[in-house]
């Protein structure tokens, strides 16, 4: 019975492409993409409070892998390769930084996208001698929509399972107090590494799945740092510690940014930055937590009256 609601919701969302035109479908793909990224981000950063600014590094790796390998092998195999590459990069980054204080992790991820972008550019300019690639895959927007929906559903299911499983509890203990965690016998680095890699693989796949939409791919397009920025702000708005928090943050913010970039293309990043600061100040734990607080206060008032 408990499974019925999410399944009905999923079926309803899956039917959307049959009823809407090209533009709403594009919006749907955008929302699903960011909802997936934000949920994956919160999977690791929510409980541990390690702020990852590397979302677009993995996202771009996914998209680029598809651009490079699409002509060489069947599509499912391409996705698998993308996931593997994302996993390897995540494990390397995690091994180097997750043993140390959180600040090193933040700094390292802060420049990671720029590093990957420069390396890919270097490789393309010096080895393949072409900057930019074309992706011609027989994959329509509705297929991208369904794939993203599937990925989002799987990510949410994983997040739900993790919050109930032992590893989720371990992660929350680490986030609250790493000293206590180590005294309880929790393998701190191992737990963090596992979760960080999982979240990175989801981000890589989100990039890989959306690659056919662009047709033309270039490092400066797929490694755009604004993607990392949007992901963090969406997860923070909704509340990174709630299952549906990041999803709830992604929907309104994506629509808002879509509107902003159409109407205020020049002032886009100023408005974005101010909004970000406002969210950090006013909603430190997200909208859902604030709503709960408000509801609790309202109830207390009613009880006392």
């Amino acid at each position: 019975m408990k499974l019925l609601t999410p399944l009905v919701a999923l079926a309803a969302l899956a039917a959307v492409p049959f009823f809407v035109g090209a533009y709403p479908l594009g919006l749907g793909i955008g929302i699903l993409g960011y909802a997936t990224l934000a949920t994956a981000w919160a999977l690791f950063s929510g409980p541990t409070r390690y702020i990852s600014l590397a979302t677009v590094a993995f996202f771009g790796i996914g998209a680029y892998t598809v651009a490079v390998l699409a002509d060489l092998m069947p599509y499912p195999l391409v996705l698998l390769c993308a996931a593997l590459i994302g996993l390897v990069v995540a494990v390397l980054v995690g091994l180097a930084t997750l043993r140390l204080a959180g600040i090193y992790f933040v700094i390292f991820t802060f420049g990671l996208a720029e590093l990957v972008r420069q390396l890919v550019t270097y490789y393309e300019v010096n080895v393949t001698r072409t900057l930019g690639r074309y992706v011609f895959l027989p994959i329509g927007p509705e297929h991208i929509y369904w794939q993203l929906l599937g990925l989002l559903a799987v990510t949410l299911a994983l997040a739900f399972w993790i919050s109930r499983a032992k590893i989720g509890l371990a992660l929350r203990v680490i986030g609250d107090d790493p000293v206590v965690a180590s005294h309880l016998g929790i393998g701190i680095t191992r737990t963090k590494l596992a979760l960080f890699s999982l979240s990175a693989v989801v981000m890589t796949l989100a990039g890989a799945i959306q690659a056919p939409r662009w047709t033309y791919i270039e490092p400066s397009i797929v490694f755009n740092p604004t993607v990392s920025f949007l992901t963090v702000i969406m997860a923070l708005l909704g509340g990174p510690n709630r299952l549906f928090g990041p999803l709830l943050g992604a929907v309104p913010l994506f629509l808002l940014f879509e509107w902003l970039s159409a109407n205020f293309p020049n002032h886009y990043s100023i408005i974005l930055g101010l909004l970000f600061i406002a969210i950090v100040f006013l909603l430190p734990n997200g909208v859902l937590a604030a709503a709960d607080k408000f509801a609790a206060r309202f109830k207390n008032k009613e009880a006392s009256a």
Binding site: R49, I51, L53, A96, T97, L100, A101, G102, I103, Y104, V106, I107, F108, F110, G111, E114, L115, Q118, L119, T121, Y122, V125, N126, P225, F229, V232, L236, N266, H267, Y268, S269, I270, I271, L272, G273, L274, L275, F276, I277, V280, F281, P284
Partner: protein, 290 residues
């Protein structure tokens, strides 16, 4: 060729050391990891360029206008944005997280303003671009001047911190913000001043950068990254460490770009960073215990 590359590298490293000193003040004393730091540097560069091209003001004079502006702007940012966060935070970890997020937002605001005003193109102006002979190799006069300025600011800051009462107070807060109030130090006040001082140094670094490098509105992230790497390599709060680490980074970058490939400089920077993180996370010259 090798000597010339090392010389160029030392000059570049002087600038890195200069900008890293500002960041180490902000992070070591005010405990704010400022991700918008590089964008303040770029703002300083644009300021110097505007004064030079529009009003014909020599960048050396521009320092006296741009640096106080950087100081004032950082003072305001700390007072309006970061101090409330510091008051709200129950512990240092929470403040670190919140300040990273808030300054991440600030990064986009400053960058957005620069994009609106100056566009996304690379900018530069020609100032003192005359070759000077140094021990058999030639180097542009503006680079030498940039190096001299970096040394001047570095020595000045070092004297301020070690020879004056104000400097002692700053070091006391850096060493132990919990105990500093016990000897009558107003930590809030000192942190704000140190943060502003770091902002002034960033603006100075921006003016110096603009004299000999091309820059663009979106380059701030790279400067932040390099300053952070120098700070961590040198050990947080360690001025001489920042100087040594800055010079090392400058020389390595120049060697990589002149002998291997200019496209790999950032990769080289990252490799050094990784090596330091894995071998000596407390910094090359930092103390062992955390």
């Amino acid at each position: 060729m090798l000597f010339s590359a090392i010389l160029t590298g030392l000059v570049l490293g002087g600038t890195y050391a200069l900008i890293a000193m500002g960041l180490t003040l902000q992070y070591g004393v005010a405990r704010i990891m400022n991700l918008a730091y590089g964008d303040l540097i770029i703002a300083g560069s644009f300021g110097a360029m505007l004064l030079f091209t529009a009003a014909g003001i020599n960048p050396l004079i521009a320092l006296f206008i741009v640096v106080p502006l950087g100081f004032a702007l950082s003072w305001l940012v700390y007072a309006l944005m970061l101090q409330p966060l510091a008051r709200r935070s129950p512990n240092r970890d929470r403040l670190e997280g919140d300040s990273i997020l808030a300054t991440f937002g600030l990064l986009f605001v400053i960058q957005g303003v620069a994009l609106v005003l100056f566009g996304a193109n690379y900018q530069s102006y020609s100032f003192l671009a005359v070759p000077i002979d140094v021990l058999g190799t030639t180097i542009a006069a503006n680079r030498l001047l940039a190096f001299a300025l970096a040394v001047l600011f570095g020595v000045g800051l070092w004297l301020l911190l070690t020879r004056t009462r104000f400097g002692t107070v700053i070091r006391a807060v850096a060493a132990n913000p919990g105990s500093a109030p016990l000897v009558g130090i107003n930590v809030d006040h000192v942190a704000r001043l140190a943060f502003a001082l770091g902002g002034g140094l960033a603006a100075a670094g921006g003016v110096v950068v603009s004299m000999y490098l091309t820059f663009s509105a979106t380059m701030g992230v790279i400067f932040t990254m390099k300053a952070l790497i120098v700070v961590i390599m040198g050990g947080v709060g360690n001025l001489l460490g920042a100087l040594a680490a800055g010079l090392i980074l400058g020389v390595v970058e120049t060697l990589v770009s002149s002998f291997i490939d200019p496209g790999l400089t950032l990769a080289a920077t990252y490799l050094i960073f990784l090596a330091v993180l894995v071998v000596r996370p407390q910094g090359l010259f930092g103390k062992a215990a955390r």
